[in-house]
Amino acid sequence: MRRAPARLGSRLGGGRPSRSVGPGLRIRAPLVGAILLITATAEAAEQRYAVVIGNNRGARSERPLRYAEKDAETFANVLRRHGDWAAENTVVLLGESEASIRRALLEVNARIREDRAHTTLVVYYSGHASEEGLHVGERTMSYRELRAIMRGSAATVRLLVLDACRSGGLTNVKGGRPAQPFDIRTARAPDVEGMVMISSSAAGEDSHESDRLGASFFSHHFTNALLGAGDEDGDSRVTLDEAYAYAYKNTLRASGHATTLQHPTYAYDLKGRGDLVMTRLDRFQRRASALELEQAGLYLVLDDAARGDVVAEVRAPRDKTRIVLPSSRYLVQRRDEDHYREYEVDLAPGETVELGTLASRRVSYARLVRKGSDLRSTAHAVYVLGGGRGAVLPDMGPAMSGAFEYGLSLELISLGLRARYGRNAAAAQTPTATVQHEELAFGATLSHFFDLPVVSLGVGLLVEAIHHQQQVESVVERERRAAWGFALAALFTAEVQLYGPLVLRAEGGPITYVFDRAVVEAGRDRGRETTTPLTGFVNVGVGVQF
């Protein structure tokens, strides 16, 4: 089975131990950057077949998945549009029964047997599974049967891809087992044949879906790899080993935000060596376009028209990585260490757009965090602010102040810790003395921000503990008074991005001070009373976000 997003939950399948996949199948643990090689065939003579299966429903006890059928559909589209899989040779089964799947596999195998050409068969499954087999509705299709069907296929090259929980039961690889890197790349050998099995997770692991991506982690990254993100050598051809390596790295990285890690695995049984080109980026189908990413790094491609849905999360392995996308308008974010850069891209049919030539906008991570990001959950900032407040004591006038604040942005709220020094703009003049008022405040802020195109507006609260100091100077003496109090304010904030990580902040609101003031009669201090004067404050300053 595959693990649905957290809000849907999931149930693990059966806990029986994994079984051997047979003496003829060599097994390798997953590795970042592992190179999977398979016999290549002469393209001109090759026939490609695919059975693409997606089923959101598993056993009755398993919660339905959200994206399994969508992942299958996307995968099939990529094969057809960019991978030389003819539509008539690509069978897509969405929500079909175990019997239908078995029948489809047998029918395709029958067609392959009749085909005299060099043939490649890809079977893709996205849905629930356990360590025993695929959960197709209430029925289980065992890995033993699936392997037997694949092994019995007359296809020269057979590729089985499972995106399901504990699908490592197929490859018999337990999750997280360390292994040494290896390299079996050799010269091309057109007569090579064999079988490769890829699973989205190890035998004991869950496979995760992401609401943000609208797909499972593995299928999303595997598909993106086929669309160009995995083209590590930049030859506009994405081979199976490139796609697997890309999907492995990014699935593992993405699952780092989930409760359990997810390690894609593979097993192969090959004779001969070579590259299997899965997709070609230089052949655009109708309504397809390409986007050339200016430099290596992490990119997020958002659908500009559909509420910013994530179309692709791409970790470009090199400069000028090219990915294929449907013609549309996109918002592309390039993630850097302390900010992201946003591009608006309009991809016309058949067009290749170089991202580096487009105008971009630098955006702080605070906005990204507030949008809710799997990549970063916090953003930081420091601010220097200056401003003032109204009078809080009769005839004492307004005060000027300077503040230093550290800010922490989370998805829903932004927190701040600040230290502030304030001083009366002018000493209050009594008939015989001057009174200078100073305050040193330590405060905390809590805000919720609304990010508009140019400005971010925040609404929140400010609480300060304030140490007041007064110096009363008369002609004959100097008296110092010190008192503690606090203040509570409604905090309204506006932030505008300036240059680079610099941000301009203006804030203000009504503020209530609470402190004890002297009861003065005939010029003398005759007691104390707690007072809660209401006034306003405003601060303006700059900050650095990181």
Binding site: A433, V472, V476, A483, G485, F515, R524
Partner: protein
Amino acid sequence: MRRAAFALLALALTACGDALVVADYQGEPLLSVSGRIADFRYANDDETLRASVFWWQDDRPQPDVTQLVEQQGVATKVTFPATFEINVFTPPPLEALDTTRPFQIGTVLVYADTDADGFLSEGELRGGATMFAIVFAPRPIPAARSPSGEALPRGYSIVRLPLPCGAQLELEPSGEACGVPLGAACDDDGDCGAGWCLTQDDYVEYPGGMCVLDSSRDGCVPANAVPQVLFFDDEFEERDVFLPMCGAQSDCREGYECLLAIAACVPVEPFFLDLFPAFEPMPFCLADLERW
């Protein structure tokens, strides 16, 4: 529960330290005078009265109202109907200070600033202190040079009138007992033998009562006695009595002070401000007062 705890914490926090002062706060006063306004009936309801400290500019025994210098840096509080407080936060004004003299004498006057010029003008005086004066000494004054006959500290002092102003009384401590425990506490005349029990005169009460002896009759003069005239308002009556003699504050009972100008124990009195028509400031020294 949490709200209550927070409120308590907040109150505890605000209770820490001093109370903050506002602009009408002037610090600790150098001189604070509080007392009663003896008779408020002479004040017009539509007048706002001001009380302030005034200083003499010359040595004339009776101050000329037009030559008085008003003290700056004075804050007053008058509570209806008859109490007041005057706080002085600065030394006397320079124009009132005569550097050739070891001290300066001032008084408290009450006036209605009818012309609203902020100063005492002719026709505005309504009353003032009749039993007390204020002395400002730039340096401490020894008793021998003090107008009150007692050593005065540096700064402001309140002294009771009249002042001896250096005059030495010729006292006659010798005498007879005359059958009266002069100055003793008493409840009624029966406690005072040949004398009588004085509990109140026109102005003040005599705390615990005081045995006195009429001096208007020819006869016995008690030892350590000082003749004085007392007024009794109820009967518009004057009575000549012998009061107990003193040479220092320690000679008088609790509740009494030694008025050195007359060398007699008299009740400790609050600072009175008297309001009445045609009020005139009185001379400070006993000799001048007797000539006034």
